[in-house]
């Protein structure tokens, strides 16, 4: 990968995870994903126990 070729921009806009970029949407998305996994797993565990 090449580095240092792109145009300059303020650090705050960068995707460097070290800096405080706004990733709220990402956070909510992954947490919804996590909830989906939990619901699926516990739902099927309940089915397993009922059999």
């Amino acid at each position: 990968m090449t580095t240092g070729k792109s145009r300059k921009r303020p650090v705050i806009e960068s995707g460097n995870p070290q800096t405080g970029i706004n990733l709220k949407g990402t956070f909510i998305s992954v947490m919804l994903l996590g909830v989906f996994i939990l619901v699926t797993w516990f739902g099927l565990y309940a089915l397993f126990l009922s059999r």
Binding site: P17, Q18, I21, L23, K24, T26, F27, V30, M31, G34, I37, L38, W41, Y45, F48, S50, R51
Partner: protein
């Protein structure tokens, strides 16, 4: 290598969930004994009759104690041998009362088979040279189809039986 703080929270949450699943299934397996079927006993696949449980006269359902049953089955392509009834006809249906404890013991004379009482947690592989053994409580009433769920040849889908759990 740095993680965004949200990624740290997400990974902690994810790892926590995985750990929780493992604790639940680990507790159930090691303390409650609900491991998946992993019976260790071996048998000569060419001479399964030498094993007490798989002698022709011992095949099929038997009540071993009050509310406790054992079923011995020999699988072969493409049939489950569950013994014969009073008229000498092959048994195709097992009937047990609801709430009874049933021990399934099964082996194969030829290739790999499956044994699933569909709709229950009785689901095991049957492999030549091994005895598959699982004890379970039949919690729910109904008619359950027993299917061979591991491909055993071109008649695979014709290999079945029925378990009826009556009230």
């Amino acid at each position: 290598m740095h993680l965004h703080k949200y990624e740290k929270i997400w990974l902690t949450f994810g790892l926590g969930s995985l750990a929780l699943f493992l604790v639940i299934i680990g507790f159930a397996a090691f303390w409650k004994g609900t491991h998946p079927m992993s019976h260790i006993e071996t048998i000569d696949p060419q001479n399964v009759e030498a094993h007490e449980s798989f002698k022709p006269e011992n095949l099929g359902l038997r009540e071993v104690a009050e509310g406790k049953y054992a079923v011995n089955i020999v699988a072969s392509a493409f049939n489950y041998n569950i013994g014969t009834d009073a008229d000498g006809k092959p048994v195709k249906k097992i009937r047990v009362p609801k709430g009874s404890t049933v021990l399934f013991q099964i082996t194969t004379k030829d290739v790999v088979h499956g044994f699933q009482v569909a709709g229950t947690n009785v689901n095991m592989m049957v492999e030549p040279g091994h005895v598959s053994r699982l004890e379970t409580v039949m919690k729910n009433a109904g008619e359950f189809t027993v299917v061979c769920n591991e491909y055993c040849g071109i008649g695979h889908h014709q290999m079945f039986a029925t378990v009826e759990v009556y009230e």
